[in-house]
Amino acid sequence: MKPLDDKTTGSSETTPGPADSNNCETGLPGLRTWRAVYAFVLAVFALWVVLLVTLSRLFS
């Protein structure tokens, strides 16, 4: 059976999801926007790299 083009049939298999309109807020105290959450994650990552570099240098 030849598949039909997804652009014409996509709606038969998938329907648009919920609008997620109430998801602008992160609900996290002190990190109210997603940009702040991402910045926090990157800061934690940088801290880990610094700690690991320190460990490598101190005991090499």
Binding site: D6, V41, S56, F59
Partner: protein, 568 residues
């Protein structure tokens, strides 16, 4: 293992599996079987994503990697925070807005059917192979614990995982993974505490760090720019970012997990949970390997950690040769221990000159131990392809941990194997059903038919992965083999999605042929270049984007240019 271990093992595994089935009873319609019930909070999503990635391979093989090569492997996870932020900000809102079951449905809506099927086929191929490796891990544990044949163990444990997955579906995977990851953490923490208590009383923390550092086990970050070096800061931040982007952003086994979140917020926070905690978690697991390395400097290990294979070779008539290796190893290890005690005494006495001389002597003695171990590996496999690092942790557990904890640790491996394998098989079955069977072969059947089909496809992929595990002879240890296979196939898949998300002027035909050409290119490069496999993720994705641009330029403007997706 004694009766207490079996009670802990069976109680833990059966308890979690039966609880999951009971909790999800009567909730098995097609959508919940494939996607879950869609009401998971961020913590469940986060643990589910973590448990899917952290298979038994992670907990069995990673300590062995730390034992053999130190902490450097942690750099492969440096790409994860960056990749997960990109996925949370770009990929996830699009998937949720389109309400897709599989990620490849997006490719169909953005490009065309052939591109959707190509993305799904690449996923099925590489995840099918990867699933074969993940089935290897619990088989190693069982064959070592019970002394069973490895091939029989692969078949038996594979069948158990298939039955569990077919019975549960995505919903059961979600429900049980949080308990399984709890068992996993409990087991690993117990192993760590016991390991620390088993180190010699005279070995202070600074001694341990100095000894491990002197043996190059604490080189966590490598600044080398040599592309042949497998794990460096640069291959981790650049290459591994693309590997993680492909794995978490386009691999259905992961997409399926975070799309089960109750809302965009829950899915995003689940991903951010992993972005924060994955590096410390892997550091902890690798540190277990370093601790085992220290422990085995003072306590003589087997010369070859796959003791079942060693005994088998002895029974095959190699007794004299192997006994000679064992005798040499015992002598070399005793000498190393004596040198270590000399070094410790000089260090505690504050005699710097004697400490320096003793440290050199320790290093030389350690080289002699390594040389005997290399002879043992060659005796086991003259081609030098078999390594025993995957057996280090399980050997330590069986030889040195108390009963009850042994059962808990073996339960840990099973919990990890069940959770990751179930998610993989569930994703393979879902993708085959949704992207191929329902879309190409049988479009108008009812939910009950597709549900049955999905279960049969899950069984099929389970059989494929068992066959691969039986036929594979891995030159790499398990955790690296999984990532190498991913690095060959993921770049093209990621390229398809990157073009879809960011280059709206490129159409399906251009990206389809660009992706196929890139896949051939990546495979050719893998067999011809001598660079870290992590770089293929960056090179392959870039090649897919460039070739798609080039082919589109040759074809002329794409008449059906899609509008840029909106982001929230």
């Amino acid at each position: 293992m004694n009766a207490l271990d079996y009670a802990v093992l069976l109680g833990t595994i059966l308890g979690i599996a039966l609880y999951g089935m009971w909790l999800t009873r009567g909730r098995h319609n097609l959508d919940s079987y494939l996607r879950g019930s869609g009401d998971s909070r961020w913590f469940v999503v986060g643990l589910s994503v973590m448990a899917t990635q952290a298979s038994a391979v992670t907990f069995l093989s990673t300590p062995g990697q730390g034992f053999a090569s130190g902490l450097g492997f942690v750099q492969i996870y440096f790409g994860m925070p960056i990749a997960l932020i990109i996925i949370a900000a770009v990929f996830l809102p699009i998937y949720r807005r389109l309400n897709v079951i599989t990620a490849y449905e997006y490719l169909g809506q953005r490009f065309d059917t052939k591109t959707r099927l190509l993305g799904a086929a690449i996923f099925l191929l590489q995840r099918g192979l990867g699933a074969g490796i993940t089935i290897y891990a619990p088989a190693i544990v069982l064959s070592t614990v019970f002394g069973w044949r490895l091939d029989a163990t692969i078949i038996c444990s594979g069948l158990v995982v298939i039955a569990y997955t077919v019975a549960g579906g995505s919903d059961a995977v979600n429900v049980t993974q949080k308990y399984q990851i709890g068992v996993i953490f409990a087991g690993m923490i117990a192993a760590c505490v016991i390991l620390l208590n088993k180190l010699p009383a005279g070995l202070h923390l600074t001694d341990a760090l100095s000894l491990a550092g002197g043996m190059h086990k604490l080189e966590a970050v490598n600044f080398s720019t040599d592309p042949r070096e497998r794990y460096t800061l640069w291959s981790g931040v650049l290459g591994a970012t693309f590997l993680m982007l492909a794995y978490f952003g386009t691999d259905q086994s992961q997409v399926q997990r975070y799309l089960s979140g109750a809302s965009l917020r829950e899915s995003r926070l689940g991903l951010m949970f992993n972005a924060v905690f994955k590096i410390p978690m892997q550091f902890f697991i690798l540190s277990l390997g370093v601790l085992m390395f220290l422990f085995y400097q003072f306590e003589r290990p087997p010369v070859y950690f796959n003791t079942v294979e060693w005994k088998h070779q002895v029974e095959q008539g190699q007794t004299g040769r192997l006994q000679a290796i064992e005798t040499d190893f015992a002598t070399a290890h005793t000498q190393e221990r004596q040198e270590l005690e000399t070094w410790l005494n000089a260090r505690h006495a504050g005699d710097t000159a004697a400490e320096t001389a003793a440290r050199v002597a320790v290093s030389n003695a350690h080289d002699r131990v390594d040389a005997v171990r290399a002879r043992a590996e060659l005796a086991m496999d003259p081609k030098g392809k078999k390594h025993d690092t995957d057996y280090v942790f399980i050997t330590f557990i069986l030889d040195h941990l108390p009963h009850g904890v042994i059962g808990l640790l073996v339960a840990t491996f099973f919990a990890a194997a069940l959770s990751a394998k179930a998610a993989e098989l569930n994703a393979l079955g879902s993708t085959t059903t949704v992207d191929f069977y329902r879309h190409v072969f049988k479009r108008e059947a009812g939910d009950a038919h597709y549900l049955a089909a999905s279960k049969w496809f899950t069984v099929f992929w389970g059989m494929v992965s068992i066959s691969f595990a039986l036929s594979a002879t891995l030159a790499e240890n398990l955790i690296q083999a999984v990532n190498i296979i991913g690095s060959i196939f993921y770049p093209v898949m990621l390229g398809l999605f990157v073009v879809g998300f960011f280059l709206r002027r490129i159409g399906g035909t251009a990206v389809f042929w660009g992706a196929l050409a890139t896949q051939v290119l990546v495979i050719a490069l893998y067999f011809s270049l001598n660079i870290s496999y992590l770089w293929y993720n960056l090179l392959g994705c870039a090649a897919c984007v460039l070739l798609s641009l080039l082919i589109q330029a040759v074809l002329g403007p794409n008449p059906g240019s899609a509008p840029a997706p909106s982001r929230s």
